[in-house]
Symmetry: C2
C-alpha cells in the first residue's frame, strides 16, 4: 500500500510512512482535522510547492465575483511554521530524512508527525509535530512542536503567525482587516469576506518552553506585512535539550449564531480572552479534553465494531465516522455537509443529494439530533427552492442541485473542464436539469421521520416541504401524446447521460413525492385540521390538490420489459451504441474514458457513471422483484464505470440484497479504497463525503441488512466471509438499539427500553422489549 | 561575492553561480526582463516555495477593495513549467546539481540558465532554459528549454500554460475570463481587473521539437482548471538526443492605446494571430530581433563607457541603463516609472519623486523623447493633483506623494509596518504631508525644459504646471508671528523626521517654485500674450499673481547659522537628542534602528534616513557656498543612515563637488551594491529604480561633473582614482554631445552639429561648434 500504512489499524491509526512532496494532497485531506465548525487540511508546518492549505469554516460562503459561484472561502492559515536550523530551512526535500512517520489517531483526533532529519550542513534534529482541532471547544486549533538537537547545539529560528494571503485557487475572498499584537504574545488578525460580509477573527498565542516548561529564552519580534502578522523567534537549543513550541489559536466569525448582532470589537475581545485561557491551559490539557469529547460524542455514542480477518474493515468504518463528524456542522441548522466535507475546496463546500441519500441516513439511524439539523437546513433553504421553481416557471419548491447559504438558491457552476476536441469548456447541466434532488430531499426527510418519529419536526417543517415539492413536480410534468405525463430533458443520477427523457429514477421518485404529499394532505386534513389550515393557506393546497389527483397516476413510470425484465434507465439508453468498456472498467483513475471521448460522445454510448436504476432499487426496494433487480444488475453493472464515488456503496448494498456476498465484499473494499487506498491523488480536492457515509451504509444496510421499509425496521443480516462479528447502534423511534451480528445469528438489545419496537426479519415481525436473539442459519 | 558572480562583467553578464532556494528574490528582481510595456520577474521554470512570480504591465492599475490602494496587478504567469523526468519532479532542491549557472546578458536582454542535474533516481540530464521579453515587439515573451538526457533515455512530462491564480500577496485583482484552445496548439486566457475593468489577453503557443527542429512526437493534452489553461506533454527522449521546447506568448490589454474602444473579441483575434506568427518565426529569430532593438534603442544611442580598474563599475552603469529601459513605459505618456520599476510588487508600481529627481534626469540628458513622455504624464495627472489640493483646502495643483493612474490622485497607503512597542501598524504620513513632491515635479519639468529647450512641451503643458503648483504653494503657506510665511507639519525628504515645521528643502523648493511661476508669468504676459491669456483664463492668474508677489519673498528660508554655517534641516532637528549611531551606521541591512526604536522615538533623535539638506544643495547648487556645503556635510552625513536607496548617489555627487574623491568613489560603490551587491535579500520587493538612475547620476553628474545650472551646461569632471576614462552621451538642446573624460582632460564633440552649444567649465564659458578638448590639470 505504498505510502499509506494501516498496520496500526487496531490502534485507530491512519499512518503515512514515507514522505513524497508530490503527493501532499492525499494526507492533507484524509488526515484533515475538524469539528463540524471548521475543517483544516493537514498541510505540514513547513511549506511545499504542491501543498494546498485550507481552513474552511462551515456556512461562511462568499461569492468572489459575478462570474463565480459562492463557495467556502479559504480562511487565514495558522498552521505554517518556517523553521530554520543553523540558517538552513527545515524541509524534507533537503538534507536527509533518517526516519519519518505521520499518524492521525482517529480516536483522539490528534495528528502527530515525527521526523529525524539531518540538515544539509549535518545538524541532526528530532522533530515532533502535533496538532488537533478541539471537539470540545469549537473555536480552538492547537499545535505543538518539539525540536531536539541530537548531535550538537543548534541555532533555531521560527517564523509563525496568521497568514491571510490564502486564496481559493487564486480567488481571494477576503478584505484584509486589522492586525494587532497584544501583550507581546497574542497575534490577532481579522478578515472580512467581500460579498457576504462575514468577518473571521483569529487570535494566536505562541509559547516557547524548554523541556521542563521553563522559559526557552528566545528572542522574539513581531512582523506585520500585507495580510500577515507573524512572530519570529530565535535562540539556541543545546544538544540533548529540547525546544517546545505551543501555538493555540482561537477562531470565530460573525456568522456564528452567538455573534449575531454583536459588535466586532466585542467578538475580538472574546477571542483574545479565549486565546489567553488556551495559553494558560496548554496543549496537552486541551487535546485531552478534545479526545474526551470525541469519546463521548462519537465513539461511545455510535460504536461500530467489526471483527474481520482484514483489520482495515474496522478501521475503514471508524475512518468514515471520524470524517462524518469532522465534516458535519452539527452546531448550526443553517449549514449542511459539503460534498468534500471541510477537507478541501472541491465542490466549493456545496451540499448535494450526497447529504440526503448518503450522509443523512447515518445520522438519522444513529445520531438523530444531528440529522434533525440537516433536515431543518433543507426546510430553511426553501426560499432558494421557491426562487428556482419560479425562475423555471413552476410552482412550489424546486431544490437547487447544489446548495450553499440558505437563500442562495441554485449555486451549481455553469462551466466545467475542457472538451478534448473543441478546446472549449464543457457546460455543466446539473444545475439546470438534474432535478431528482428535489425528491431526494423529501426522501431524506421522510426517512428521518419514519426512523425517528419526530412529529414536532414534521409539523413545523416536514409536511410543508413534502407538499411544497409536490407542487413543483406536478407543474413540472409534461403531457405526452400517449396521454401520460413525462419528465423530459433531465439529468438522472447517472451524469453520463445528459438531457434525457423519462429517467426512471427521476420519474419514480417524483411520483413517490406526489404520492406522499397526497397521503399527508389527506391525513392532516382529517387528523390535524389546524395544521392543515396553516399549510393550506401558505401553500394553497386546495388549488393544487385537484392537479395532484388528476396527474399523479398518469406519470409515466417505465416498467420492466416483459422479455428481459430490464427497466430503461431513460427513454434512449437501451437503444444507444454499445462499445467495449473493458479498458475503462479496469481503469486505475476515474474518468479515463474522457481521454478518448468527449461528454457529447459519452452521452450516446451505453455507459453509466454510477448507479441509476440501482439507487432506485435501493430507495424503492419493495416496488421491484428480486428477479427484476438481478436482471437489471446483470445488464447495468457491466456498463457502469463507478466514476462517481457514490456508486460503489449502493452497488455493495444491492449485491448483498441479491445474495452476492463475494461481490458485495469486493465492492465494500473498493469503496473503502476511495479515500484510504493506494491512489495517492484520489483525495486532492478533499475526502468523498458520500462515499464515506456509504461505507457505513454498506456495513449496516448492506451486511447488517438494516432497512426502513415504509416505516418498518427490517433486519436481514449477512456477514461477508471474512467477518465474524458486526456490532452497531441504531436509533429507532427514540430507542437506542444495540445490534450484534455474528455468522448465522444476531441479537438486538433495546438499551433505552422505554418503548416496544417491532421489526421484521425474514418474513416475520418481532416485538422487541429488552433483548431478542435470532438464529437464522 | 557569494552567489552573485561578476567575473564576466566584460561580456555584460550578470551571473548567479550557485542556487539557493531561500534567496530566489534577488535574481528574480535583478535579472528581471522587460521592455517598459511589461516586466516579468525571472522566477525559474520550476516552482519553489519562496518564489515571487510577477508579470506586471505598466499602467494597468487596479484597486482590490476600498481598504487597499490601487496597484499594478500581478498578471497570469506563463513562465512556469513543471517538468517530470521519469516520474520525478525536476527541482534543484532534490537530486544532485552537478553544475549550475544563470546569466542575464544585459546587452541582448536574454536570460539563460544551464543546469546539469541528476534526478534522485539517477537520471542525468542537461537543461538549458532561455528567456526574453522582446524590445522589438512590446507584447512578446519568448521561452526556450532544451532537455538532454546524458546517461539513458528518459521519459519526460511537461506541464505548462497560462496560470491566472497569481495574486499580489494574496489580493486577487482579476476576474477569470475565457479559456480557449485553438488549433490544438494555442492556449488563450483572458482576465479582467475587478475595479479598473482592464482585460489582459494571453496567447501562448508551445512547440516541441527534436534537435533538428523535427517533430518531437510527444503526446499532448489540454487541461483547463480554475483560472488555468495548461497543456501536458509527454514522451521519451533518447540518450544523446534532445528535446527542444519553445513557448512564445503574446500579451496585450484593453489599456493599450491601440486597443482603446476595440471590441475584446478583436483584441483576442489579434493576439492569436500574433501568437501564430511568433510560433512560425521561432525563438532564435525573435530573440535576435530583440537584441538588435536593444542595440539600436539603448546601447548605440546612449553608450556610457568606463575604463576602471574595477570592471564592475562599467557593468554597474550598464546594469542601471538596462533596468531603466526595462522599467520605463516609453510607449505611453499615460504611464510613469514605479519605484521598483516593473520588477516587483514593492511600492505597488506607484510613481514617487524618484522619477522627477532621479530617473527623469537620465532621460532628459540622454533620451529626451522618453523624458517628454514622463513629464507629459505629470501634466496629464493634473486632475488628481487638483483634487488633492482641493481636499486639503488649497488652490491649484498639489501632486500626490504616490501616483498611479492619471486620475487616481493620491494613492499612498495609510498604514505601514508594525510598531515594535504597541503592536499596532504605523501610520504613513507621506501621503498626507510629504509635500515637496509638488516642487520636485516642477523641478523635473524645468530641468527637462532647460536641457532640451522643448518650447512645444512648455507651451502645451509645462508653464501650466509651474503656475498651477505655485497656486498650491502660495495658499499652503502659513503666516507666522514673525511676519514670515511658514510651511508647518510636513515630512521632508528625510522620512525619519515626520510632522516637522519649516523643512529647509521643502521651503526652499516651494519658494523656487513660486519664483519660477512669477518669472514665466511675466515672460509669457510680455512675449506670448495668447498663451498667457489661455493660461490666465484657465488658472485665474490675475487673481493669484498679487498673492504670489505679496507672499513669496516672505517665505521663511532657513539660512546657514553664522557660528557654524549649519542649516537647520527643520525647526527642531538641531535641538533634538543625539545618540550613538555607530551600530546603525555599520548595519548590514537597512532599517536596523527599528529593531531598537519605534518611529515616534526616531522622530526625536538627530538621525536621518537620507539626504535632506544635501539634496537641496544638489538641486539649488548656486545658492550655497562650498564652505556651507562642507560644514553641513560634516554635520549631517554622520547622522545619516542611508536607509533610503535615494541617499547614496546624492551624497556621491556632493562628495565629488567638495573634492572628496575617495569618499565619492566609496559612495558610488555602495550605491552600486544596493541591487548588485552581496546582500541576497536586498531586492526581494524589486530593484531600486531611483538608485539605479543614481548610478548614472553619480557617474555623469558626479565624476563627469555635468550639471545644468540655470539653463547653462556646466562640465567639471573629476574621475576617481581607479578610472582612466569615462565616455558618455549628453543630449543638450537637441544636440548629441559625446564627452570623453580622462584624467586631467576631457573632450566634447557635438555629433549633431546643427547648433553651437555654450558650456561652462571651471570659471570659463566655452562655445562648442564641433569639438573641444580641454586640459584641466
Amino acid at each position: 500500500m505504498s505510502q499509506m500504512d494501516y498496520t496500526k489499524a487496531k490502534d485507530w491509526i491512519i499512518r503515512e510512512k514515507e514522505f513524497h512532496a508530490k503527493f501532499l494532497g492525499k494526507c492533507e485531506a484524509i488526515m484533515c482535522l475538524g469539528n463540524g465548525y471548521m475543517g483544516m487540511r493537514s498541510s505540514t508546518e513547513e511549506k511545499y510547492t504542491a501543498e494546498k492549505r485550507d481552513l474552511l469554516i462551515a456556512g461562511t460562503f462568499n461569492k468572489f465575483d459575478e462570474n463565480e459561484v459562492t463557495e467556502l472561502p479559504n480562511g487565514a492559515d495558522v498552521a505554517a511554521m518556517d523553521i530554520m536550523i543553523d540558517g538552513e530551512e527545515f524541509s524534507l526535500n533537503s538534507g536527509t530524512v533518517k526516519s519519518y512517520e505521520r499518524e492521525l489517531n482517529i480516536k483522539t483526533g490528534e495528528l502527530c508527525r515525527k521526523v529525524l532529519w539531518v540538515s544539509p550542513k549535518g545538524a541532526e534534529v528530532e522533530f515532533q509535530f502535533k496538532r488537533f482541532i478541539s471537539m470540545k471547544q469549537l473555536h480552538v486549533i492547537g499545535q505543538k512542536v518539539v525540536i531536539k538537537p541530537i548531535g550538537s547545539d543548534i541555532f533555531v529560528k521560527i517564523l509563525t503567525g496568521i497568514n491571510g494571503r490564502m486564496t481559493n485557487n487564486g480567488s481571494q475572498h477576503f478584505s484584509e482587516g486589522d492586525k494587532r499584537l497584544y501583550d507581546k504574545t497574542y497575534m490577532q488578525y481579522t478578515q472580512t469576506t467581500s460579498q457576504s460580509n462575514i468577518t473571521f477573527v483569529f487570535t494566536s498565542g505562541v509559547k516557547l518552553m524548554d523541556e521542563r516548561e521553563g522559559e526557552a529564552g528566545f528572542h522574539s519580534r513581531i512582523i506585520m506585512e500585507r495580510r500577515t502578522i507573524e512572530t519570529e523567534f530565535q535562540g539556541t537549543v543545546k544538544k540533548g535539550e529540547a525546544l517546545v513550541i505551543e501555538k493555540l489559536t482561537d477562531v470565530r466569525t460573525t456568522r456564528d449564531r452567538e455573534n449575531e448582532g454583536k459588535p466586532l470589537k466585542e467578538i475580538c475581545e472574546e477571542s483574545l480572552l479565549s486565546a489567553k485561557e488556551l495559553y494558560k491551559a496548554g496543549y496537552e490539557s486541551l487535546v485531552r479534553e478534545s479526545a474526551k469529547a470525541w469519546e463521548e460524542k462519537v465513539w461511545n455514542k455510535v460504536p461500530v465494531k467489526i471483527d474481520s480477518e482484514d483489520e482495515l474493515d474496522q478501521l475503514a468504518i471508524r475512518f468514515a465516522q471520524y470524517h462524518l463528524y469532522v465534516m458535519t456542522p452539527a452546531h448550526d441548522n443553517r449549514m449542511n455537509i459539503g460534498a468534500k466535507g471541510l477537507s478541501g475546496e472541491g465542490y466549493k463546500g456545496h451540499t448535494f443529494w450526497d447529504t440526503d441519500i448518503f450522509a443523512l441516513p447515518y445520522f438519522t439511524f444513529t445520531d438523530p439530533d444531528i440529522a434533525k439539523k440537516l433536515v431543518e437546513y433543507r426546510y430553511l433553504s426553501l426560499p432558494g427552492a421557491h426562487e428556482k421553481a419560479k425562475e423555471n416557471g413552476f410552482l412550489g419548491a424546486q431544490f437547487p442541485w447544489e446548495s450553499a447559504w440558505l437563500d442562495d438558491g441554485e449555486v451549481t457552476p455553469v462551466w466545467g473542464a475542457a472538451d478534448i476536441f473543441t478546446g472549449l469548456p464543457t457546460k455543466i447541466w446539473s444545475g439546470f436539469i438534474e432535478q431528482h434532488i428535489t425528491s431526494d430531499v423529501v426522501y431524506g426527510i421522510w426517512q428521518y421521520y419514519m426512523v425517528t418519529g419526530d412529529e414536532e419536526f414534521m409539523e413545523r417543517c416536514g409536511y410543508e416541504v413534502i407538499m411544497d415539492t409536490a407542487k413543483f413536480w406536478i407543474t413540472r410534468l409534461e403531457p405526452g401524446d400517449d396521454g401520460q405525463y413525462h419528465i423530459n430533458d433531465v439529468v438522472g443520477p447517472d451524469e453520463y447521460k445528459e438531457r434525457v427523457n423519462d429517467n426512471a429514477f427521476t420519474n419514480y421518485m417524483a411520483h413517490w413525492n406526489v404520492e406522499k404529499a397526497v397521503e399527508y394532505h389527506n391525513e392532516l386534513k382529517k387528523n390535524k385540521p389546524a395544521l392543515f389550515e396553516r399549510l393550506n393557506e401558505k401553500l394553497e393546497l386546495d388549488q393544487i390538490y385537484p392537479l395532484w389527483m388528476e396527474r399523479k397516476d398518469a406519470i409515466y413510470l417505465p416498467k420492466p420489459r416483459e422479455e428481459d425484465h430490464l427497466i430503461a434507465q431513460d427513454a434512449e439508453y437501451l437503444s444507444l451504441k454499445q462499445v467495449d468498456l473493458t479498458k475503462y472498467k479496469n481503469q486505475k483513475q476515474v474518468g479515463s474514458m474522457f481521454l478518448d471521448y468527449n461528454l457529447e460522445q459519452v452521452n450516446k454510448i451505453q455507459v453509466s457513471k454510477q448507479a441509476d436504476i440501482m439507487i432506485l432499487f435501493l430507495l424503492m426496494e419493495d416496488l421491484f422483484s428480486l428477479e427484476v433487480k438481478q436482471a437489471n444488475w446483470d445488464y447495468y453493472e457491466p456498463r457502469t464505470l463507478h466514476d462517481s464515488s457514490l456508486s460503489l456503496s449502493t452497488h455493495c448494498i444491492l449485491a448483498n440484497d441479491m445474495g452476492q456476498e463475494e461481490m458485495a465484499y469486493e465492492l465494500f473494499q473498493r469503496a473503502r479504497a476511495i479515500d484510504m487506498g493506494e491512489n495517492m491523488k484520489s483525495s486532492d480536492e478533499g475526502i468523498h463525503a458520500a462515499s464515506l457515509a456509504g461505507i457505513w451504509q454498506s456495513s449496516v444496510f448492506g451486511f447488517g441488512g438494516v432497512r426502513m421499509l415504509n416505516g418498518t425496521l427490517r433486519i436481514n443480516p449477512a456477514l461477508p466471509k471474512k467477518w465474524s462479528k458486526l456490532e452497531f447502534i441504531l436509533n429507532w423511534q427514540g430507542q437506542r438499539l444495540r445490534i450484534c451480528v455474528t455468522k448465522g445469528s444476531f441479537s438486538i438489545v433495546n438499551e433505552t427500553g422505554t418503548k416496544v419496537i417491532s421489526f421484521e426479519h425474514g418474513t416475520k415481525i418481532y416485538q422487541l422489549d429488552k433483548k431478542i436473539e435470532i438464529i437464522f442459519e
